[in-house]
Symmetry: D2
Subunit: 140 residues, 4 copies
């Protein structure tokens, strides 16, 4: 890995995700990215649905997606993720690599903000997790 | 029309709905059918989201789908709907025809039930609408 | 298992598959079912995309879906499948159970036909696989 | 309009497009944007599927999406589009406004490239259309 990721999720293309061009439709990558973020949250003990119930709503504010190589029917791939927090923004660097050859398929930067009880505010549950991750990596 | 429908909704295939075979993916028809039922409800003054807020949850209990002819990129089509109510079940006969040639693409019977405050029960708002429709048609 | 299935695929609900009601949207089950059929084909050495290239197009002709219990965010589940072939029709009995409690979520019968070079005809590749499966089970 | 758009497409949110948060899921906007681009092509006499048959494959290379305000169940909205061409890249400025209040929901820049017979190359059919549009606007 060129990059020091915090989390990764291995998935496989499903045929219904492919479009007329015979490759995964552009919109489906957003599904992969969202699913990987929610699985990352779960891996650190946070649940998107439970956060919703506590009126903590995580919202994508900005997405920058660079499509490098298309995924196709039958492909296995990995979504790798690194999280940062700064000034009310959670930044997720999420890159997709095809397996087993590790060919880069997509590079993205997803900026998320949280609404706590309807107001833009940091959710300490998420901030703490990300800051601890960053500290742990710096110590190493 | 071979049948005396209560409602119809004209739509157009979107390219992202087509799969590797170059036709609308089987699952997407369920989207068309759901959207047509919700638009039917709106046409008679009922809103799915508002019903949810009143703890009236409409749930599909059974779907019988006969795929006759596939829709393709660029096709316009109409979803036609007839509603009946009997013994706690709302029965929606929903058929899809391609336009402008009216070729039959799909015949379906969708059985819906309602949960009112979490319990299986008829939702009088919906029952009344359907029974009035049936009366009006019988009078004609 | 109440039934003697030929194949099973374990999956997990992804949050983007859930709708306003907070449960997996009805159309998404069709995705699960299709994916399980394609994975079943792969498990017996057949590839949906390769079949397409050989002008063997598998098409759903009929789907009967009984929704028993909704899947929710975070649920793991298994799609179990039994295949039969008779008179130009491939019948897939596909049932979905929530894990780990094995609660039945959905019972379905999916009827598939094949177009070989554009004409309705049996695809011997698929027929042979299913008939061998049935023989093997009968021997036991 | 703050901007001089080339094309617009009016759509309505469908309930199956909304997720657990009760708003349109982030990935669905990519569907809206793709559909608007394909409808724009059709409005100038080009068909995505026909282009594919001629081995002209339009591919999204980059997407920059700024989510401003979420669309909800029942909302009508318009996708507005302005196209530019420069150095092998088709740039689509695509913005989404809720109707009837014209509230800005999303600002995007979508960069598309074309593969002609498998090689990165301009597709003169598309380039000509965009350059004529730009000339026409400049004359005014």
């Amino acid at each position: 890995m060129a990059f020091d990721y915090d989390f990764e999720l291995i998935l496989k293309v499903r045929d219904y995700e492919c479009d007329m061009q015979g490759v995964v439709n552009n919109s489906v990558y957003m599904n992969y990215l969202e699913h990987a973020r929610h699985e990352f949250l779960q891996s650190v003990g946070l649940d998107f649905k439970e956060l919703l119930k506590q009126n903590i709503v995580a919202v994508v504010a900005r997405a920058e997606l660079s499509y490098k190589n298309p995924l196709q029917s039958g492909d296995e791939f990995v979504v790798r993720l690194k999280a940062e927090y700064s000034a009310m923004k959670y930044i997720f660097y999420q890159d997709i690599y095809r397996l087993p050859d590790n060919k880069l398929c997509m590079k993205t930067v997803i900026t998320v903000v949280t609404l706590v009880n309807g107001k833009l505010a940091p959710a300490s549950e998420i901030v703490n997790v990300i800051e601890r991750l960053r500290e742990l990596k710096n110590e190493m």
